[in-house]
Subunit: 164 residues, 2 copies
């Protein structure tokens, strides 16, 4: 019933606040945003969460894979158009242990959006005032270069950009 | 580089814990899970967040639409395969005001997955011990029947099921 009017950004170099004041979209011509690669959910019991998505919701799920270099176990839940990535700490220095300490039941940890050139994307965004947790792209859990943008500059949401 | 092994659930009536102990998937034959309809993000300033996704990330966005009957303003951020739904409180009794009180910078509020029959889905899930915030489907923000599953039964994640 609801049919939103869609508007597409035009490529220029200004920041969001100026764009708001002028009404002129200001995206960069240097790189392009792509599809939602995954939604990551940190969970205290990854086997139980895997069973929930597989056995109660009927989703296709991957095997549980330990990624020691990233400090996580991962399971992918396939949803046809995209996937949920279940995350559970692996090892003592897991990057998601702090999140689970604050959210003992688990919770949505980040979203990952694909970009065609992650280096150009992060450099462009940093030039426009967006902080990156890792300004130099690193190899992510899927073997592709990624950067994480600071949640404070993304309205409370941890945003991962992954090379498509 | 990472190629997960995918397994598909088989339709039976048991619960996740029994499935885990036997290794036999236990999804329902009564209804089918579909695609990720959207990720909803609650934001304290919806115009600024719209500008971020449109002008800095270069996404196609909808107009801001007030939905008084749902107590929210919404903006849809198109990502090709799915969308982000930006949510901001409308009116004094907005269902997301409490979330923003706890998460002042904003944050990821819920995920919405499509199902082919939301009534069968919620009845089946409740029979298997999953609580619904609204056991009787209601008309959601997109004019379709929806139910919300209790975050405590979904490992900290608020899950919306929407009739596809």
């Amino acid at each position: 019933m609801f049919r939103p009017f869609l508007s597409r950004a035009l490529p220029t170099q200004s920041v969001a606040k100026r764009a708001l004041s002028t009404g002129i979209p200001k995206a960069s011509p240097l790189w392009k945003l792509g599809r939602l690669n995954h939604v990551a959910i940190a969970v205290p019991d990854i086997d139980q969460s895997t069973a929930f998505y597989r056995d109660l919701l009927g989703a296709t799920v991957s095997a549980k894979v330990p990624l020691p270099e990233h400090g996580v176990y991962t399971v992918f839940v396939e949803l046809g158009n995209t996937k949920i990535e279940l995350l559970h700490p692996y090892g003592e220095n897991s990057p998601i242990q702090g999140f689970l300490n604050k959210n003992k039941s688990g919770g949505i940890h980040h979203i990952c959006i694909e970009v065609d050139d992650v280096t150009k994307a992060v450099n462009d965004l940093m030039a426009k005032g967006i902080k990156a947790l890792n300004p130099v792209p690193k190899i992510g859990a899927h073997g592709k270069p990624v950067v994480f943008l600071h949640p404070k500059d993304c309205h409370g949401t941890l945003v991962e950009l992954e090379q498509s």
